[in-house]
Symmetry: C2
Subunit: 108 residues, 2 copies
Amino acid sequence: MTGKISSDLLRGHTDTIVLRILLEGDSYGYEIYKRIVDKSNGLYELKEATLYSSYRRLEQEGCITSYWGDETLGGRRKYYHITAVGADVYQRNKEDWEFTKSVIDKLI
Amino acid sequence: MTGKISSDLLRGHTDTIVLRILLEGDSYGYEIYKRIVDKSNGLYELKEATLYSSYRRLEQEGCITSYWGDETLGGRRKYYHITAVGADVYQRNKEDWEFTKSVIDKLI
DNA sequence: CAAAGTACATTGACTGTCATAGTAATATGA
DNA sequence: TCATATTACTATGACAGTCAATGTACTTTG
């Protein structure tokens, strides 16, 4: 057991995981990153670059919107908010995951 | 539910699935393809091109060996045989999959 | 005051999947 | 018989998600 997950097995789940976190409330990039590391007990080592490209993708698709926090001093934070579209996509992705799991289990 | 699996969710499983089939005995490219379609009730629509690149990869890594069948007439068949290395890799991949499943389930 | 942590972002490389195309033989059905 | 489907293998180039590397800039900690 390597203790980390190959990026090929992660592929395609990043967006869903981000949406999942945003369902619990608005959050910003770095915090989302931290939440994922925490939630997976440090086992899911997805990289910041991967997340930022996920944010861009999700925003382009209308799954999330963004706004700057009102921190007047210190690092500015870009907050993300999940849209109705995003919630739908999350649900669908979750179902796809359950389905995929069962098929892979049959084949492996 | 689309009824098919997105290629991002499949990614990384092809090799393991091929190894799984070869554990049951030698087989050739096109038959392996058919077996996978069958086993998944047509739900796992992986493409031939994907499989052939998997064969190449697996052979380069020493996971499988190949030999031509002795069909004197008709389409020649290239048979694949799993090696000890391949069996090891299969086991490891299977464990990785179980592990990945649990982490993704926690995050999704 | 240096180092670590927070917070955002870009670039270009890598890799697995797949669309497309091609070759060539056999079997089937009209 | 002739067209079509099926079997069987292969190469090429595009695409997309992940990530390593790198950068900026501010704050906190030792």
